[in-house]
């Protein structure tokens, strides 16, 4: 039986061997070599990652891209120089090679240099180059690992690669300074990255652009674009090793785009010196990465082996005027030549059906979108509005004209006309094609009707807390309205009251997709087991003065439970670096890449915890797809761990679109388990809780629906609800795993004893197993962090992180996951820091 399985493995290897030939590539070029001086040199090329991990936009992954750069670089070194040996860490998309094996192989070979090729990930708007060589700070100086050379190689490559890719750069850094800053001394005086730390030769890791940036990733899809990056690395290698000079090249490259909007053109053909190149099209390439023929365009071309000197360039594309030029093809560098082709299509207005009467209410502005850049004055001169009334024109850009309608009358009819004398900005001065039949020279005519005057009061819904359940002691009060409100007098629009006492707090107003929501954040904990009244003022009114009319009072009860122990998973105040971009996860599917992103939000935050930042996820679903998932993955962060009897909570700001989100954790068996989906049918902030001991657990990926052992957070996940809006956003704040316990006292009792200075009492019991109570006192309201460290100074737990009012408080610390020993617990407040020791005996 065992013998058979081994046979099977042997067959697999035989198969892979056919695919990969041989991993280590010994080669001495048999072609005429133009470059000498590399005799005896060996280089180890490491295309980062494996298979299709580290997905980028459009389902094209980082390892697929960088492998092709590596293969092209190897081919250049082997065929154009006298280099002794080029090794590669992998030569196929199939093989999975861990970091440790890459470096073991490189070290065994004794290569002279290790070059690790990567591309970066981050926000969709970010794109740059970066070099990371091994180094750290010592006594105020940056120290490079030995043998030196990574910095020198990076200094050359950062210039070459940035020039080649024509994107910004953030430079060439010693790796530990990039990740941990520039103190006088790093505590770890060795390279930060594995490939720099464990290779015994000079080394550098390059990040060539961002595979999460749409502009960059569309170019990354192009086959020859990888040769461009490889060419930059090739020139770097021969300069670094002191070769005789660059071989003669004749490379013309650039982008062909639409002169009107700058968009790259698919299927444009460029001809130079008898060679021609047609830019990628949906049919030739992009169908592998998108079902939308219009989504992907790069306009990129790359022609090699051209004759040097002046060469005529002819560029053509269907629907555009041809362009010709002469370029000087350089012998020792790229010859960049970008081409903007002028459309032969006359200008027209898109997105409006002129055969229907358009209903526009005064105040709802109308945007006219032209398909070409227009000469604004000709449009303004050609535009008439009858009967004459007071409208205002605002150009949003050269092709978008906004018509301001707030002076129009209700229940009236108007005609908007733009005469054919409006012309585009091309030198061909095309006249307007008003009826969009493809032939210019006719007017655009649109009938407009305005609606009834607004005399309705705003309609309020989703008032929270409710009287249908016992509510938490720190609730966010909320009321949703069907329209925007007059914001001039909202400070006392919403109150939480006990008798005549009004709980102090902060009111926030948000507008979301034509609706609005008021949130109230009480600054005091409410009393347990008490009835409160949520009051909405009758003076709340819409933007034209229609008020609610009378106050709305809702009674709600509080529970007798409060958080007894809290593990903060992420309060997001420290940024989002641990969280992957949605498109980075290979599980993310069915999204519009450019509408889906992760970003730090500083305006909409949970004021209950005095939060300064939250995480905003913008989503755009491709509604025609059958599968929809966004995985907002927490990367390799495996802490903090928490037990499966806890309640996982997060404050969630909803957009009311009816799409869904859920929590996903990885359990002690490495299995992925999820909560049920929560339908986001609310506006504003709301606390969402997954009681992991009692609520359903749903298997995801390798999961089995059972939470085994200790857990850590894997991700938030989002999905689309068919028929609901396909774009929107959601915000997350204060993600935590809590235990609930009987509330210890009511607010009045809590404040009866107030210390004059911050106090931290000895934990009780002590020694303890496995839980103990930590009591502390605050002279005034304060931010509070209680952290536990081991005797080596390593943080082992966050007991509490948030704010507490003045007075004494007690939190419980559960050390089930820790081993016996002495630990230090540290209280940080606005008034100072105190530490004490405690002993865990198991």
């Amino acid at each position: 039986m065992k013998f058979r399985s081994v046979k099977t493995i042997m067959k697999l290897f035989a198969f892979y061997s056919l695919l990969s030939i041989v991993l280590i590539s010994f080669s001495t070029s048999t072609q005429a070599q133009q470059v000498t001086g590399l005799d005896g040199v060996s280089i180890f090329i490491d295309p980062g990652h494996s298979q299709t991990e580290n997905q980028g936009l459009y389902g094209y992954s980082e390892p697929e891209k960088v492998l092709r750069i590596g293969l092209a670089l190897r081919e250049m070194l082997q065929t154009q120089t006298d280099i002794d040996t080029v090794y590669m860490s992998r030569t196929t998309d199939q093989r999975q090679v861990p970091l440790g094996q890459r470096d073991d192989l490189a070290n065994a070979t004794g290569a002279d240099f290790y070059y690790s090729i990567h591309s970066n990930a981050g926000a969709t708007s970010t794109n740059n180059t970066l070099m990371l060589h091994g180094g750290w700070r010592s006594n105020g100086n940056t120290v490079e690992k030995t043998p030196n050379g990574g910095k020198a190689f990076g200094d050359i490559l950062i210039e070459e690669l940035t020039d080649a890719m024509r994107i910004p750069t953030i430079g060439n850094y010693a790796d530990r300074t990039f990740y941990q800053g520039f103190p006088d001394n790093h505590s770890n005086k060795f390279p930060y990255l594995h490939v720099n730390r464990t290779t015994n030769m000079a080394s550098v890791l390059s990040e060539g652009g961002f595979h999460t940036n749409p502009f960059q990733q569309k170019r990354n899809l192009n086959a020859e674009y990888k040769r461009l990056e490889a060419q930059a690395a090739f020139w770097t290698a021969i300069e670094y090793f002191g070769a005789t000079g660059r071989p003669v090249v004749g490379i013309a490259t650039g982008v062909i785009s639409n002169d009107d909007d700058g968009e790259p053109l698919n299927g444009a053909t460029i001809s130079i010196d008898g060679q021609s190149y047609t830019t990628d099209t949906f049919e030739s390439l992009f169908n592998q990465y998108s079902s939308d023929p219009e989504e992907l365009k790069n306009g990129f071309y790359y022609l090699e082996d051209l004759s040097n000197g002046d060469q005529q360039v002819i560029v053509s594309a269907e629907g555009f005027y041809s362009d010709t030029a002469t370029i000087d093809v350089l012998t020792d560098d790229f010859t960049f030549h970008d081409v903007s082709l002028v459309s032969s299509t006359p200008p027209s207005i898109t997105g409006l059906d002129v055969t229907d009467t358009l209903l526009v209410n005064p105040g709802e502005n109308l945007v006219l979108q032209f398909n070409r850049k227009m000469v604004k004055s000709t449009v303004e001169n050609a535009l008439s509005f009858t009967p004459a009334d007071s409208i205002r024109l605002v150009w949003k850009d050269d092709s978008r004209l906004e018509i301001i309608t707030n002076e129009l009358e209700f229940e009236s009819n108007y005609v908007l006309k733009i005469d054919s004398t409006a012309i585009d900005r091309s030198s061909y001065m095309h006249q307007l094609d008003g009826n969009s039949d493809g032939v210019g020279g006719d007017s655009f005519v649109l009938n407009i009707e305005t609606g009834n005057a607004d005399i309705q009061s705003p309609i309020v819904s989703d008032i929270r807390p409710t009287n249908t359940q016992l509510n938490e002691l720190n609730p966010i009060a909320s009321a949703t309205f069907n329209e925007f409100l007059d914001t001039s007098n909202l400070s006392s629009a919403i109150e939480i009251k006990k008798g005549t006492y009004s709980v102090p707090g902060t009111v926030k107003y948000y507008e979301v997709f034509g609706k609005s929501v008021i949130n109230f954040f009480p600054s005091q904990r409410l009393d347990k087991s008490t009835n409160y009244i949520l009051k909405l003022s009758g003076s709340i009114s819409d933007t034209v003065g229609n008020a609610l009319g009378s106050d709305i009072n809702r009674t709600f009860p509080t529970s007798d439970q409060e958080i007894s122990n809290e593990i903060v998973v992420d309060d997001f105040d420290g940024g989002l670096s641990a969280w992957w971009e949605p498109s980075q996860s290979g599980s993310t599917t069915g999204v519009e890449a450019e509408a889906t992103s992760k970003e730090v939000e500083t305006d909409i935050v949970n004021l209950l915890t005095e939060s300064t930042q939250s995480m905003r996820i913008n989503y755009g679903w491709r509604s025609s797809d059958s599968d929809h998932l966004i995985r907002v993955y927490r990367g390799s962060v495996t802490n903090p761990k928490f037990g499966n009897a806890r309640i996982l909570q997060s404050y969630v700001f909803g957009d009311g679109n009816g799409n869904k989100f859920r929590f996903v954790v990885r359990d002690g068996n490495g299995e992925l388990e999820a909560s049920e989906w929560y339908t986001v049918d609310w506006l504003g902030w709301k606390l969402i809780s997954w009681d992991m001991a009692n609520d359903p657990v749903v298997a995801w990926a390798n999961g089995n629906g059972i939470l085994n052992g200790t857990l850590y957070l894997d991700s938030y996940q989002l999905t689309y609800t068919p028929g609901q809006p396909s774009s929107g956003f959601i915000l997350f704040d204060d993600l935590r795993a809590v235990e609930m316990g009987l509330a210890t006292s009511n607010e009045d009792e809590l404040f009866t004893d107030i210390p004059s200075d911050v106090e931290l009492n000895q934990n009780y019991p002590n020694p303890f197993n496995p839980s103990t109570n930590i009591t502390f006192g605050l002279p005034q309201n304060s931010k509070v962090d209680i952290t536990v460290y081991d005797m080596l100074g390593r943080k082992v737990a966050t007991v509490f992180a948030g704010t507490k009012p003045q007075g004494f408080h007690s939190v419980q610390f559960d050390a089930s996951n820790l081993s016996s020993g002495i630990y230090i617990y540290q209280l940080r407040t606005d008034f100072g820091m105190i530490s004490k020791q405690m002993t865990l005996l198991k």
Partner: protein
């Protein structure tokens, strides 16, 4: 007579039970891992016990330098600051360390074989410095020789060390080396090799011979960890694991099972694998450490390993 018979059977059963319990006993961790070596400014890694178990040799990040310490971590001293720490190996008498040293000049590395001595005497340089040395040197012929693969051919050198008396009457000792795509078994003095690779065109790494000389453990590049007999038979797949090392009784292999994110190793546990592939014991499950590069002490009581995020050498106590 009957009494004697039953007594004999009971005695046999007792012996059988004792023997079988010895054979089936799994390695078991006794207590938490303890830090054995840590020093400011040095990131220790890749510990290797001397054959007599008295000394632990370690290197640092980038495999620069070799340090020696007593088995309890005391008396730490640097043997060399040379670029010499990758793939070094102890001599049988625990007095010397064979390695490849590298020097850097004009952005090229040159390599030579050297033997360092724990008594502090000057190292013996076995070869001139060469621009390429694509493999690591290995001890052969009970330490009397050093062999090296160069261009897939065996080069043999005198180590300058005398073969211990007890081996002089023994036949030539086989050695095992890695060629570019091959596990090769060789013999002195013919320097001929025999291909004992289980797979065609696979790449092999981290070949380790069992203490009893009967087994080999090795990694397939981009693949799994395996053990097999030294004649290439009885191949057993142990799964994804790296940097194997043998238990002194040759019944288990300890190796690290890791995950990485392409930039750094994010998880790492040490597992003891029985060589029949039927047992797999996580030795560091509760430690929370990223454990790498395990090395089993010659008496079987300890496993030393490194934690790359800390630059420290830890030790696990093992009960079998």
């Amino acid at each position: 007579m009957r009494f004697k018979k039953y007594t004999s059977i009971a005695f046999l059963l007792l012996i059988t039970a004792f023997v079988s319990s010895k054979v089936q006993a799994q390695p078991r961790v006794a207590g938490e891992p303890q830090i054995l070596l840590k020093q400011d400014g040095v990131n220790f890694q890749a510990p290797v016990w001397s054959p007599d178990g008295i000394t632990l040799a370690v290197t640092a990040d980038r495999y620069v330098g070799i340090w020696l310490a007593n088995a309890d971590g005391s008396n730490l001293k640097q043997l060399t600051d040379a670029d010499a720490g990758y793939g070094f190996s102890w001599s049988n008498d625990s007095r010397s360390i064979l390695t490849r040293v590298n020097v850097f000049e004009n952005r090229r590395r040159n390599h030579a074989i050297s033997i360092f001595h724990t008594n502090g005497s000057a190292p013996d340089q076995i070869t001139d410095f060469r621009p390429t040395m694509e493999a690591l040197p290995k001890w052969a012929q009970y330490g009397e020789k050093v062999v090296l693969i160069q261009n897939d051919k065996i080069e043999a050198f005198d180590s300058g060390m005398e073969m211990p008396q007890q081996f002089k009457s023994k036949p030539s000792q086989a050695f095992y080396v890695l060629k570019s795509n091959e596990i090769a078994k060789g013999k002195i003095p013919t320097n001929s090799t025999e291909n004992i690779s289980p797979f065609d065109d696979a790449q092999y790494l981290n070949l380790e011979v069992s203490p009893d000389g009967q087994k080999l453990a090795f990694e397939v590049y981009g693949g799994n960890l395996y053990v097999m007999n030294v004649d290439g038979s009885n191949l057993v797949d142990l799964g994804k694991a790296n940097r194997p090392d043998w238990s002194p009784d040759s019944r288990y292999v300890v190796a690290s099972v890791s995950e990485d994110d392409g930039y750094n190793i994010t998880k790492g546990d040490l597992f003891a694998f029985s060589i029949d592939g039927n047992e797999k014991v996580n030795l560091t499950e509760q430690s929370g450490l990223i454990a790498q590069n395990p090395n089993w002490s010659p008496d079987g009581s300890k496993i030393a390993f490194d934690v790359p995020t800390e630059g420290a050498i830890y030790v696990l106590n093992i009960q079998q």
